[in-house]
Symmetry: C2
């Protein structure tokens, strides 16, 4: 039953060698990997305006130079990551690059912040997508959490089905979003230039803004940098690309940069030109669309595709998180379970883990995870910086032809992202301080896991030429509660394996014990019966004591086996009718004694 | 840890032969067994008045003759049950008496309705007790559910500790209640006679009550009979009494009848004399106490002891339910688990089951289970009737000396309780119809359980002289994932038991398989390695298929054993770091194959 339901949702299991067909072409890759970056357009401008609004409406003018600064940063990042992809064709995520060049600890710092960040991506993106829907349909406001959770559930299922199929489904809305945003920008600019639109605010920069400080401008700039989250996705996913993987990845990265840059700039300019300020009930994009088209069909298409691409942005994390978890698991810093490929060749455990954690975030923040955007952005810029630093060290170390210009490029990238990280920390400390608690904890967990695996490997390692199996005579103990077919089966089985078989009976009163001894003698199964008396009505304690006695007698020479019969009932509720002593006994023996527990099934037919 | 917490709350385990010391003397028995009956005083009068109020305030007069009728019924019940206790010194609950004389089906009908009733007792009594508290402290109104649940939790713990200790704790409030009610009645009567109290309503019976019908009078009478719930408790619990059990039980029964009768009559008369009518915010007893003493210290003592005895009424069910469940389990109509005595010699499972179910009722009715009183009363009168009928048949069957007068006594009892049951059903059908659905279901479950146990007994029974253990050569299969100390241990163990050992390796790709085969040859442990190739990355499916092949080869001649190594980690979280394939494999093998699963523990030291 369970497996049929699983098949319905997940699909048929796929053979391991089917993995090559699952790889991504450029256009599909753009859809899968760029939705995170492109969707940032939906909130990037708004984040800048929110900070500037704290100064006053005339400060809005500053959004224009800030947007150009963000654009410049985007250019630097694209150029830097182009070099990373070339240098790491097997996948150049910040974890790999940092570990490779800066050592394991730095790699784990980058990897840890990325992992946390992917979870935030899913939560923030699905909340922002829900905001877009709620802007269009305010009556849905109370269902925010459910809308976000439904989308997370849907994405989790799609990703469990496998990456290509989900890419096919997801490509359409990504391109739809790109097209409608360009239509919006085109129509908006046309209306502005033809004077059909009058701005509500006086275009500023009149020098009257005495209250504005460098601090607030930097804060607004760093807020705008949240539009750049997701740029790193391509470099992490190089092995997902069809051959030639590096070239395809770089082409995808450049395409993404062009789209993101022009859309972000367009929206920022329109917002300024139309004099739009952030509002509680309606997002900036929603306001622009309403100003340009009114609340008509086009407005709803824009809101719908914005919502869709935000939900798909979450999908980027669904490609990136499991892959990074796999790499960390391969290096023994995360549980081995993250290395297993599921029926459809995706890393199912990573996908499920990501889905559950982000859903938990949505629930605990009541769908208001948009407040996590600063945290999310700082979590991205830490690995950005480390990755650039790693590349710098790499150029110095390897010194390939023309390395110096590449070194300079990465140095510029590193310094810029470091600067932004610092700006984030200084200007938004109250929102990002938790990173300084959380990241050390994550890294500590990585090391604990690693040490555990290393210890186990030590314990389990044997020398093939020296360590060989040794046989020894063991004892089989058969606890019996009466003389039944189950007992007969167990004794038959035990006697087939060894002659040293002991049956043990635990009696609660003299009558029972006497009766049992008499019947046993009559039956005479060729096995000695040991009778234990329990004054406390417990079967387990006397049995454990008896096993201790046998252990003491046999010393270390022979392995003790305890044979436990287990009823396999025909229907689940029948289990309620049998004292589950055997389960309890097994658990006790497991954790307290070094004995083999052999469970002899007795399949009840009725 | 868990066992230390258990010990703190429950106490040291007790030896089985300590049970004699746990038995009840008369005064303690009166405390434990009569609280249900005595506490009915808290709501019996109110139930009558509630019905009469639907006619009009002048109908209140009828509460006096109705109270006397209830008193007469009490007398009949006491006399009848006196005979039952004498005839069934080993415990004459309705289940036993009905089963013994009227056949199993009728016994189960009585037993089933009593079981359900005990659960209702706990729920109704703790709700009514909460009402008494809330009457005194109206600000606690919103905490009703928590107050009731706390009391149920407390009672469950006390009963898990054992019956004598709880009797000692419980005797004080029962006697306190009796004393304060008599003080209340005495003071009330004195004030009434000295004319310090003026009734608010005109004492009626002026013939002007044209609206009053026989139907409503009967309804009011049957409502008053709810004051008699709990009378049967003594007869169920005869084996709990100290020797001479029957005589002690009868003495207790009579004492209880006297107390109950005089208290009930006193409250009814006072309520009439003081012209009290039921109110939403304050119980009848609370109003009487307020009229007599004002809201002083005595008022709060009365409310407090009313609340206490109501909570203790629930305790009656804690003695009766587990004992009845034990009897039903002994006759194989309920799961065997209800037969086990816990550390403190109580039937722990019955106590816990009762606590959980009544807590669930409290939660689902939001603490308003007082509305269940009619259901609760009809559930008591069904077994009352059946028990009397059983006694009648018994007298006819056995015909001891002087049987006829006893027969007449029980006939009167039977007819009266039957009549009341019918009145209940006719006048309160809308509140009690669910009984006609619920009881058949409970009885059907009893029979299903019984049939299951009978089937199993058939399947398990062997003939001692014919069926003997037979030995046969079996095969041990050792799944291996590599060459480690764990594998070496498992193979050593398997080889100690038999020569037919096969190691099985499931590989996912050619490299792994080749590497494994090479290393195995190098190690050469004296056991053949079978390699299976899995294209679907599943270990379990190829293994199940392989076992099928072995089964097919060996036929029915030898038992197959699968050896599964299991890491026992030092700390719980380490378990997260190991793929729990062995658990999954064990579950699959259990339910799908007839193989012995032997778990070889490997205790990790680090």
């Amino acid at each position: 039953m369970a497996s049929q339901i699983k098949r319905l949702f997940i699909g048929r299991p796929m053979k391991s060698n089917a993995i090559e067909g699952e790889k991504l072409g450029k256009l599909k890759a753009l859809a899968v990997l760029s939705s995170d970056a492109l969707s940032s357009v939906a909130y990037g401008t708004e984040q800048i305006l929110l900070v500037l609004m704290t100064i006053g409406i005339s400060a809005i003018w500053y959004s224009i130079p800030i947007s150009f600064a963000v654009l410049g940063l985007l250019l630097i990042l694209i150029l830097s990551y182009r070099q990373t992809i070339k240098a790491y064709p097997a996948g150049g995520g910040a974890y790999i690059v940092a570990k490779d060049n800066l050592g394991t600890a730095t790699g784990l710092l980058a990897g840890g912040s990325l992992l946390v960040d992917y979870i935030l991506t899913v939560a923030v993106s699905s909340s922002a997508g829900t905001d877009a829907i709620v802007s269009a349909f305010p009556s849905l406001h109370d269902d925010r959490v459910w809308i976000a959770l439904t989308m997370i559930g849907f994405l989790t299922l799609m990703n469990l089905r496998g990456v290509t199929e989900s890419a096919s489904v997801l490509a359409i809305p990504v391109y739809l979003f790109v097209v409608v945003v360009f239509i919006l920008i085109g129509a908006g600019v046309y209306r502005y230039l033809t004077g059909q639109m009058v701005s509500h605010i006086t275009p500023g920069a009149d020098g009257a803004l005495s209250g504005i400080s460098l601090f607030l401008l930097l804060k607004a700039f760093s807020s705008g940098c949240s539009a750049l989250t997701g740029v790193e996705a391509v470099s992490n996913a190089v092995p997902h690309f069809r051959e030639p993987a590096s070239r395809n990845a770089i082409a995808t990265l450049v395409m993404m940069g062009l789209l993101l840059g022009s859309m972000f700039l367009g929206i920022s300019l329109l917002a300024y030109g139309y004099g739009i300020v952030p509002a509680e009930q309606s997002t900036v994009i929603s306001q622009i669309a309403e100003s340009v088209f009114g609340r008509g069909v086009l407005y709803y298409i824009i809101q719908g595709s914005t919502a869709l691409i935000l939900f798909l942005a979450a999908n980027t994390a669904y490609s990136a998180f499991p892959l990074l978890a796999f790499m960390l698991a391969k290096d023994k810093f995360m549980p081995r379970a993250f290395m297993a490929r599921g029926d459809r060749l995706g890393f199912s455990n990573g996908i499920l883990f990501l889905g559950l954690l982000s859903a938990a975030l949505i629930v605990s923040f009541g769908g208001n995870t948009v407040s996590l955007i600063p945290l999310y952005a700082v979590g991205v810029f830490i690995p950005f910086t480390l990755s650039q630093l790693g590349m710098m060290i790499r150029w110095i170390r390897l010194k390939p032809k023309g390395w110096f210009s590449k070194f300079v490029m990465n140095t510029i990238g590193m310094l810029t992202t470091l600067l932004i990280t610092l700006i984030f920390i200084v200007t938004k400390f109250s929102q990002v301080w938790i990173v300084f608690i959380f990241l050390p904890v994550v890294i500590w967990i990585f090391y604990r896991i690693n040490r555990h695996y290393a210890n186990i490997a030590d314990e389990l390692r044997i020398q093939l030429d020296i360590d060989k199996p040794i046989t020894s005579q063991g004892t089989i103990i058969v606890p019996v509660a009466g003389i039944t077919r189950v007992v007969m089966n167990s004794i038959s089985y035990a006697r087939s394996l060894t002659d040293q078989v002991v049956a043990v009976y635990v009696g609660f009163n003299d009558e029972d014990i006497e009766c049992m001894e008499r019947k046993w003698a009559e039956w005479n199964p060729g096995v000695r019966l040991i009778v234990l008396r329990s004054s406390y009505r417990s079967v387990i304690r006397p049995l454990l004591k008896f096993i201790e006695t046998v252990e003491w007698k046999t010393g270390n020479s022979g392995q003790i086996t305890v044979l436990i019969p287990q009823f396999i009932t025909k229907s689940w509720w029948h289990n309620l009718l049998h004292n589950q002593t055997s389960l309890l006994l097994r658990a006790h023996l497991f954790y307290q004694k070094d004995v083999v527990v052999a469970t002899v099934p007795f399949h009840l037919k009725k």
